[in-house]
């Protein structure tokens, strides 16, 4: 079997007495683009929060590239190569677009807590930031405070911040939610481009996006993965049809 980027075993999460994730198992193969689908409230965002260390698991283990990352601090998980975006846009609204990206680069480029470099003087840092701006097609917006961007642009910027640190595993939580058709198309294009040669785990409600982007699909219902398979197999899967896809046209 191919190497696993993420390996979740028997992961559980309770909030008080309500159990949201119930012994979930999930494999994400290195280099694949996997989508997670499931009804509202199934626990998709919670799952992302567990993987990225934003929530502590109530039980089970999470491994990334063979290393146990269960319940590590978020910044440690990030440093070991996992980066994520949020369902609700999460950027630095008061900083300029350029600064947002540059901040995303600082740690991974080794500037860490330095107070003896001047950001503007570090050529390769700024060049890299410009490069990412170009890639997410935001060069024109460079000096605007990020909070003033249009919604779709903020989402694109967040993807930019997420990939800036050059993480190998990227988690995107509903990256195209709330976008128009044309915006969605562009976003999918962008996601495909920036996750080239990386591992992507993406939560998405828009089925056309899912089938367009994903190599494999996992279905999450009531805190459990009920199936993981190739897109066409998922389409045909009886259990999935009943549990989730039943009424939707595929």
């Amino acid at each position: 079997m191919s190497a696993l980027a993420l390996k979740l075993r028997n992961v559980r999460k309770n909030f008080g007495s309500s159990s949201i994730i119930n012994g979930l198992n999930l494999d994400v193969i290195k280099g694949e683009r996997q989508a997670i689908i499931g009804p509202n409230g199934a626990g998709k965002s919670t799952l992302f929060n567990l993987i990225s260390g934003f929530y502590q698991v109530s039980g089970g283990t999470i491994e990334m590239n063979g290393h146990n990352i269960t319940n590590l601090a978020t910044f440690r998980i990030n440093r070991s190569g996992l980066s994520r975006s949020f369902q609700v846009t999460n950027i630095f609204p008061q900083m300029t677009v350029f600064e947002n990206i540059r901040c995303g680069l600082l740690w991974s480029m080794g500037y860490k807590y330095s107070f003896w470099h001047l950001c503007n003087q570090v050529r390769h840092l700024n060049e890299k930031a410009e490069e990412i701006l170009e890639r997410i097609r935001m060069t024109q917006r460079r000096d605007l405070p990020a909070g003033l961007l249009a919604y779709a642009e903020q989402r694109a910027l967040e993807i930019g911040i997420t990939i800036a640190g050059d993480a190998e595993v990227i988690l995107l939580d509903e990256p195209t939610a709330g976008m128009s058709m044309s915006e969605t198309e562009r976003a999918v294009e962008l996601i495909r481009d920036v996750t080239e040669n990386k591992t992507l785990l993406v939560v998405e409600h828009d089925m056309s996006v899912v089938f367009d982007l994903a190599d494999r699909i996992s279905v999450l219902v009531y805190g459990e993965i009920i199936a993981t398979d190739l897109p066409e197999k998922i389409r045909q899967n009886q259990e999935v049809q009943e549990a989730y896809l039943g009424k939707e046209t595929l």
Binding site: N78, R102, Y113, L118
Partner: protein, 417 residues
């Protein structure tokens, strides 16, 4: 370095200003005022490293100022005794290093979270250190504090610091150096990330940063500069008491910084200059000066939360478009009205102070050279009339200001004048 050169203009002006001011204002009083301003500027800028840049509201920043001051004080005594082989000019550095070390310790303890938790811990640490001052008389000198004589043998400048002007120049040099360093710090990775952690700690953690570490280092660096200010205080006054680590100077630096404006680097400089000036001059004129100071602080928080720097920077677009002249008439009228209103409030305050606090309340009091009895209704009537009239015109003025701003915005949008 390139950075410094590009900004050389501003720094040259700043240096020239520091050099010339004591020549223009050469009285003893003015020079000691300028010295205090210099110390306050460093203190207040260092506070803004925590508050403005890092988003941490501290109620105990004087701890680092005070500890720096005490350490420098002991340092100067050692220098005088010949046991510490460094020149007096570097004594503030002792304070800075002391502030840094204590800052690392308390920073780590208090910065797990910002917000209320941080604020309360900072308050607690302030109380704790103030209380321990009495328990450690060896270091804090008990009630009478620690004193020194700054006229020591070991100096690198030709100064012997027998005169205030020499002390002033030493303070000015340290101040300029600290301003440059603190300014450059805002441009470093740490400085930028401190902003990121302030705006969105959750996100900052997902770009690889331990938010607590960011806050701690930022806090410790601020404590370093605060300690330098404390060291300069030690040289300037040659005495320091435990009051200097307490709640009052901590509150003072908070108010200075807020009044100046926490959103711009230069804000605290304005705040420090203005508040130091007010404290020293007002306290000579009236016993109620703290009340006026409080009034100013509250008004700023209510109506101009971005501080003086924020007000100034709001005018940048109008200034650039050459439209300030559209604003000035309405500003003048509103300011005059506000002054009339303030005159009324002030009269009331002074009358009441005279009635309740003076030894002979029956004696006539004097205000702006006018002598009158505090008990007579005339003073009250005039005061209330001033407030009413001022208030009426101020409201009108405020509307006018609003309208002229709309004109300006319109004009900027259409590109015309």
């Amino acid at each position: 370095m390139k950075y410094l050169i590009r900004h050389l203009g501003i720094w040259a002006v700043a240096i020239a200003l520091c050099a010339i001011l004591p020549v223009i204002f050469s009285s003893d009083y003015a020079i000691s005022l300028l010295s205090q301003m210099g110390i306050a500027i460093i203190f207040s800028l260092s506070y803004n490293m925590i508050l403005g840049q890092g988003g941490m509201l501290s109620f105990g920043h004087a701890v680092y100022f005070g500890i720096g001051g005490f350490l420098a004080m002991h340092g100067i005594n050692l220098i005088a005794g010949g046991t510490l082989p460094i020149p007096l000019e570097l004594a503030p550095l002792i304070g800075g290093l002391g502030g840094l070390i204590v800052g690392i310790l308390f920073g780590w303890l208090s910065t797990e979270r910002s917000g209320t938790t941080f604020a309360l811990i900072s308050l607690g640490i302030g109380e704790l250190i103030a209380a321990s001052a009495l328990l450690l008389p060896g270091f804090f000198g008990g009630e009478e504090g620690v004193s020194t004589d700054r006229m020591v043998e070991n100096t690198i400048t030709p100064f012997d610091f027998g005169q205030q002007i020499e002390v002033y120049y030493l303070i000015a040099c340290w101040m300029l150096l600290c301003i440059v360093l603190m300014y450059l710090q805002t441009k470093t990775p740490l400085g930028r990330v401190a902003n990121a952690v302030r705006d969105n700690p959750e996100r900052a953690a997902f770009i690889g940063y331990n938010t607590r570490m960011v806050r701690t280092i930022q806090f410790a660096l601020a404590s370093f500069f605060s300690g330098i200010a404390g060291g300069l205080f030690a040289i300037n006054y040659e005495i320091i008491t435990a009051e200097m680590i307490g709640a009052i100077p901590s509150a003072n630096v908070l108010m200075m910084t807020y009044i100046g404006g926490i959103g711009h680097f230069f804000g605290p400089i304005i705040g420090a200059v203005l508040v130091t000036f007010m404290q020293l001059t007002l306290s000579g004129f009236t016993h109620a000066w703290q009340l006026y100071f409080g009034l100013l602080f509250v008004s700023m928080i209510l109506w101009a939360p971005t501080g003086l720097a924020g007000i100034i920077m709001n005018h940048e677009p109008a200034w650039k478009a050459g439209l300030m002249k559209k604003l000035i008439p309405s500003y003048t009228r509103a300011t005059l009205a506000a002054l009339v209103m303030f005159l009324g409030i002030m009269t009331l305050i002074e009358i009441n102070y005279h009635l309740s606090l003076s030894i002979h309340p029956k004696d006539p009091m004097s205000l702006f050279g006018i002598s009158f009895k505090a008990q007579s209704p005339a003073g009250w009537i005039i005061a209330i009339a001033l407030i009413a009239v001022g208030f009426f015109f101020f409201k009108r003025g405020k509307n006018e200001v609003k309208n002229s701003w709309m004109d300006v915005h319109q004009a900027i949008k259409t590109g015309g004048k």
